[in-house]
């Protein structure tokens, strides 16, 4: 069992675990974490399965993995933005189909927010309501006049 085969097996196992997490986890952030683990394990599989130790490491899969990592971080960043918006609009970080029966009080996303009934704000009203709050953008913008 050379080290390459060990890492190959580790990649396969963590890939399986990540698939379990992506399906079974209820909060979407937890699914997202599992997805990132899945991505990392697939990249490990790509390099480990094709590495032949005595030979020099093959740069092509390395480049592919770097490309994969950047693509995964882009998708993760977008997913986080969507999760933030969903929490802001619906008050819950859990997709409707995964909602616990009755929306247990203890499950507040990101701290003390009360999780409302899964109906959440009626869709029509969400879309229509534009930004209503003041609040400075965290971008390092010029201080307000």
């Amino acid at each position: 069992m050379s080290s390459v085969e060990i890492y190959g097996a580790a990649a396969a196992l963590s890939f399986g675990l990540a698939v379990y997490g992506a399906i079974a986890a209820r909060p979407v952030i937890h699914k997202l974490v599992s997805l990132n683990v899945m991505g990392a394990s697939v990249f490990l599989l790509l390099v480990a399965a094709s590495a032949r130790p005595p030979a020099a490491p093959d740069p092509v899969p390395h480049a592919m993995v770097i490309t994969g990592i950047v693509v995964t971080v882009a998708a993760t960043g977008y997913a986080v933005a969507l999760i933030r918006r969903m929490e802001w609009e619906r008050g819950s970080g859990v997709l409707p189909e995964d909602a616990a029966p009755g929306g247990a009080a203890s499950e507040q996303p990101g701290g003390g927010g009360r999780e409302r009934g899964e109906g959440g704000a009626p869709e029509a009203e969400n879309a229509a309501e534009g930004p209503t709050e003041e609040g400075r953008s965290p971008w390092p913008g010029p201080p307000r006049g």
Binding site: L35, G39, L46, A49, S50, I83, R85, M86, E97
Partner: protein, 475 residues
Amino acid sequence: MAWAAAWVIAIPCVAGALAFALRGALRGLFIALGVAGATAAAAALVVFVARDGARDLALGGWLAPLGIRLRADGLSAFFIALQAGVGAIVSGYAAGYFAGDREGKAFWPLWLTLWAGLCGLYLTGDLFNAYVALELIGVTAVGLVAASGGAALVAGLRYLIVTLTGSLLYLAGVALVYAEIGAVDMEAAAQGLGPSPVAHVALALMAAGLLLKTAVFPMHFWLPPAHANAAAPASAILSGLVIKGSFYLLVRIWNDVFSAHADDMLAELMGVLGVAAVIWGSAQAIVAARVKMLVAYSTVAQVGYLLMAFPLGGDAWPGAMYFAAAHGLAKAAMFAVAGAIARELGHDDIAKLGGAAGTLPAGFFAFALAGVSLIGLPPSGGFLGKWLLLSAAADHDHMLYLAAIPAGTLMAAGYVFRVIAPALAELRRAPRPSPWRLWREAPPLVLALAALALGFSLSPALVLLSRGAPFGGGG
């Protein structure tokens, strides 16, 4: 003329980037130029492939197994033609639909980069590059859905999680292919992959990922909420074009890369999933409450027909491709009309559609024409697609598909006329039509008429499809 393939991807990319960076009239100009340029480049590529047959373009001059190879053959040219045709008309519709409101500003950069991603997917001859293209399509498609906020945002987030999982399953398959033969180029894989179990496992994983992204029953749960709650132009793009991307890749690897490993058992499973999708999707569409939800479930059903080509093989392939094109046109038209209905009447509940044909006569006429192609009644592209599928089924005595396709046709008639019948009913009060009405009714009419025109132009399509395509004998 080999570079035409590159421009088909580069032009929408540049236009998308500029649509994001610029503002005001300049932005509008570059969007229009981008759409026109992309359509022209696609047309040039199609003519080029039809005339001279398949052509390879080794990017960066690096030859096949090392570098990335763009391959423009009949199959890719056919789908690029569909992308350009439907894309251009839907862009016109979107210009009218979004006239001025905020949601439209995010639409254009995402839509143009999605266009580039789809064309990249259709042209790529490299398995890993297809993964990156799939990711680009996934992120931009979710962007189009989630931009509308509310229920669309939740549907978009679910769609993102599903599409990421699908891409990673596909990538696991690519990793195994690379482990087996040390290359990710499709042609190298086709020659190098022996009958080893690694290839079978790779095919299974890649197929699973792509079936998840094509929303094949029972993995279709994410599609109806996403396509129904998105804005109408976005739904038209998603149902008409984005679904075709992952289906195309599945057909490409099935026929090109894993042709030796596409054993009957997996093909038969695909066929059975297809039949189940047709029955389940149509049943859900018949009981749907909203027009957009009905049209979204119809997509789940129509994807079922495309899958029937796997077990049937032979001339079922061109049939399925032709059916995909007709479905692209008809489905885009239907969602466009659904958008017009939602904007004109303020709602799209089927129960309250009584006499709506009064306010949107051309719109419902377009919906009916698109319905003809969706049901598969002559003279439409859908009919010829089903005819080829049926004759393939009859040739191989596949009784299941010989029964499923007409059953699907009747169920499709069921849910299409659910919308048409009340609209023809007597008009009680005529709500005042808005000024944009014609701009929102003309594009769907053009799309629907194109779907019907496909009913007479099968031979040029078959000639194009045979250019070096996996199932075409041509040069």
